[in-house]
Subunit: 161 residues, 2 copies
């Protein structure tokens, strides 16, 4: 089982995309600013998300990323699967060779757990997350903060220039 910053970042970034999907392509630097994720790291993650056809890219000025399909049709499990290898709780990737070629004592337990996690994350779409009150509140705060950062940047640019 592997659910670390990588998977969490990917879901956060995709949710950010979903929240701003009505305003044309979203650039990674916008996501980086709002979500506090390093730009270079986002690039690596989006490379994988693109290969899994969860997003499409638009190059050039004003470009960025778009969801490849409706918010309703993208599920958290798909995002985690795209960047992690899987949400698999077994040590043998389900191959039943956990104990030197044979099945270990707890193999079936971890299979059950994997199914459980996968079912849960496969039920939750980006649309559902966008609709949540707690998510909307965090998103609103981030929107205000990023506008402030934007103003700060312009002031700094004016001072330097």
């Amino acid at each position: 089982m592997r659910l670390t910053t990588k998977g969490r970042y990917a879901v956060t970034a995709m949710l950010d995309l979903a929240l701003h999907s009505d305003q044309g392509p979203v650039s990674l630097s916008d996501i980086s600013n709002r979500q506090g994720i390093s730009l270079s790291y986002l690039e690596q993650l989006f490379s994988k998300l693109r290969k899994s056809v969860l997003v499409t890219s638009v190059r050039g000025p004003g470009g960025g990323y778009r969801l490849s399909r409706l918010k309703e049709d993208i599920f958290v499990a798909q995002i985690v699967d795209a960047v992690n290898e899987s949400v698999d709780a077994t040590g043998c990737s389900g191959r039943s060779d956990c104990q030197g070629g044979t099945t270990c004592l707890t193999h079936y337990l971890w299979c059950d757990l994997s199914d459980q996690i996968h079912d849960f994350l496969n039920q939750i779409s980006l649309a559902q997350l966008v609709a949540r009150e707690d998510v909307r509140q965090v998103a609103e705060r981030q929107s205000i903060e990023s506008q402030q950062t934007c103003v700060d940047d312009k002031i700094n640019a004016a001072i330097i220039g």
Copy 2:
């Protein structure tokens, strides 16, 4: 979220203990032989299991470990919690400071997932695992194999001696 070999080994070892709990204390070297887990590593894990009062130890020849309470009253979640820090899917250990002091966009999602996993693993007792047909089959195979290893060891000892 952290569920790796460490947590899996711990549950496997505890299940082995549960399976042989009617035959007096079980030594770590027995568990090591049957489950293919390194003895030194088992010692580290059992140090934690002992501190969490999931097992009690008996020193000296014929000693080993015993479950500290009934199979029915030990749950998988408790074992994983004892060796891992927790079955927590958030990056902030539930403190809501995932994004530089404030709550990240997906915090509540990972809280929900943590609850889901914890509820699932907290339902499953060692007694339930012992009763499972798939577990019994693996246990029986291991029992035969470890008897064979035992005979082999005696033959080797006889050759050397």
